[in-house]
């Protein structure tokens, strides 16, 4: 899965499409979080 499609439960209208994070992006976010906490 590379993207996420979001639908409304009341009429199944598409509300948005988002890119899915892969492991590299998760690593980058964790690394940024550590730096932010240390600062």
């Amino acid at each position: 899965m590379t993207e996420l499609r979001v639908y409304a439960p009341d009429d199944r209208q598409e509300l948005g499409v988002l890119p899915v994070d892969d492991s590299a992006r998760v690593d980058a976010k964790v690394a940024r979080a550590i730096r932010a906490m240390e600062n």
């Binding site: 899965m1 899915v20 979080a33």
Partner: protein
Amino acid sequence: MARAEALIQIWSATREQLPDLAAALSKEQGKTLKEAHMELERYIGPFLQYAGLATTVAGRYQRLGPEVAGLVDRVPVGVAVGIVPWNFPASLFGTKLAPALAAGCAFLIKPAETTPLITLRLTEIAQQFLPDGLLDVVIGGADVGDCLVSHRDVARIAFTGSTAVGREIAARAGHGLKRVSLELGGCDPFVLLDDADVPSAVRALAGSRFYNAGQVCVAPKRLVVHEKVADEALDLLESRLGRIVPGPGYDGSSTMGPVHTDRVRATLEEQVADAVDRGAVLVGGGRPAGASVEQGWFVNPALVVDPPPGARVRSEETFGPVLTVIRVRDDEEAVAVANETPYGLGASVWSSDQSRAFTVARRVQSGYAWVNALGRVYDELPFGGVKASGAGREHGVEALESYLEDRTFITPVAPGG
């Protein structure tokens, strides 16, 4: 003090946008605008609460001998991860994020695959008042969740969701020796004894059971009612059922939105069909008709009365507007039925005799119990389950403590110093 200021700024900035946020939450999750507004109030509440508690985090100094002393520092546990479900994507985010920030932790939130949009909007507001990178959203499914839970630099995991997924997370977290809190499923009993104020009890019961279209982990799923007052309770419940209007959340005339997905609706319908096949009586139920509801995942509220032992609704979590009704002969049988599920999240007991109610409530296995009280969860008090409903606690000072680590230092001091 900087943490407390940031928390207050997040509270204030989010509060200013509540009407827009409520509309977005209602559309994405399905709940009514009124419910969305209530949920967002529950999202921002903890920011004020933990702003106060953030200023109380303190270490200690202890003299250990004539020339030695100890210092205990209280430090953030590290990077924390929140994994939240789709039924309360905002409030369950806030109950995790606020104590984590108060403790000084960085926080990564993984929303459910079906409710990432409200999470992104709330995060964007909060990020304005936080150092870059301290708060972020991770988007994806179970594989992304696994990646976070197994990540060597993640120290704390706060999960709300199903018991099955909770077990997996606990196993992975255990392997990494990470701190974890698990708020899992529930099949809460609502015990109505024969001397109770039945109208008051039914009002509280209906308000809790059908709120958020019945998609609440801590809500009465089973009415365990003394046979002497069962018919009175059923009449009152049926009357209340008739006043519930399923419809789109944005429509002011709707009092109950759809359930969240087709899978939720299918599971609920299977559970009800199983009970009826086994001899239970169905009151209400089915799907509403009409142009405004034909495209969505709408269901009518229902009572499933007298399902026999073994029926799925007696032991499984029913995640939708269905209330199971089980008659009992006395307090002993009420406690036995209340405890017959694998779960132990919440419980309610109603009796005009407070001592009797407390005696029963203490015997019902739950982490949170209401005794002659409305089923509200308070931010000030620890919340969590026993048995298959989880481990660890959220809310209260207990949640703040779970994001802190003690570090002890021993140091020489001058004699008499």
